[in-house]
């Protein structure tokens, strides 16, 4: 199924050019699961073959990704704020939440960069969490700019390098990144549940 999806996504690139990468990056960064990383690898192979030019592909993909990231951030900021306020109103939770927010804000740039690459599948969730916890917009935007630029250049470069095997490498990378993101999410949830278990009275 992953390979079929990637196959069809690759066929869209010669038909619609860099515009399809703009759209894919925007939608995937806003939370819709699309194999954008694999599509960037195909674009890298097309650049290496002389079919596409690096600069428009890079610029349009970066623009799409940045817009998608901002959609997620503001969704979290507007939708997550009432939830935040509700829990923050509890005197027992407020100091912990303030500490968590300060910690997240301090590490915002590096967290956002890591969530673009290698844990790109977690990116949309980090965007929403960043908005919901009111991480400063300028720090968030700097993180996504750097993270997205690294993410796009890595995959375009990999596509150019693995041009003859670009679909197999793309599908393999998609599975690996999916597994890494899923296990990272499992670790976070298990850590939360374990923490609550240890704090609960025997």
């Amino acid at each position: 199924m992953i390979e079929h999806l990637i196959h069809e996504a690759y066929a869209l690139i010669p038909r619609h050019g860099a515009a399809v990468l703009f759209t894919a990056a925007l939608l995937s960064c806003a939370g819709i699961p699309i194999p954008t990383s694999a599509m960037m690898m195909a674009a890298g192979a097309f650049i290496a073959a002389g079919d596409m030019h690096f600069l428009p592909v890079f610029a349009l993909t970066l623009l799409g990704a940045m817009i998608g990231d901002q959609i997620g951030y503001f969704m979290g900021r507007t939708g997550g704020q009432p939830l935040w306020d509700k829990f923050h109103a509890r005197p027992k939770l407020a100091p912990t939440m303030d500490r968590a927010r300060a910690e997240l804000d301090r590490r915002a740039v590096i967290a956002v960069i890591i969530s673009r690459f290698p844990l790109s599948a977690l990116g949309p969730w980090i965007n929403i969490a960043a908005g919901a916890t009111q991480i400063a917009w300028n720090r968030f935007s700097l993180g996504v700019l750097l993270g997205d630029a690294i993410w796009i250049m890595t995959y375009l470069g990999a596509g150019a390098f693995f041009a003859s095997h670009v679909k197999d490498v793309g599908a393999t990378m998609t599975s690996l990144m999916g597994a890494l993101a899923a296990f990272a999410a499992v670790w976070l949830i298990a850590r939360f549940l374990w923490g609550r278990y240890r704090r609960s009275p025997a």
Partner: protein
């Protein structure tokens, strides 16, 4: 009265954990399958590829591919073999087979001509 354990107090979160773990294992299994069976395999021509990509990735001369495409003389078009086949009224499979035959032939010639 003792408080219920964390996983009993968070059944939804526990469900999300189980589904995410299953998804992670599926991705991991697919990754393992790709690495062991596909990555070392000889690449084949596919209908999403463009003529220039075939030339670049398979090392075939442009002059061998160009006559199969039914396009006017000049630079190779940026179009998939699927769309080029449709423009000629062929099935994508037919054009892919023709291009693959040329790739195989060029491959055979380079092996025969090698040291």
């Amino acid at each position: 009265m003792t408080e219920a354990p964390a996983w009993q107090r968070h059944p939804v979160l526990l469900g999300v954990l189980a589904v995410t773990l299953a998804l992670g294992l599926l991705f991991l299994a697919h990754f393992g399958w790709m690495v062991t069976t596909r990555l070392g395999a000889e690449p084949r021509v596919e209908d999403w590829m463009t003529p220039r990509h075939v030339v670049h990735a398979f090392g075939v001369p442009e002059a061998v591919i160009a006559p199969l495409l039914g396009t006017p003389p000049g630079p190779l078009p940026f179009a998939s073999l699927r769309d080029l086949a449709a423009a000629q009224g062929k099935t994508p499979e037919a054009l892919v087979a023709e291009v693959q035959a040329q790739v195989d032939m060029a491959d055979g010639l380079s092996v025969e001509g090698g040291p």
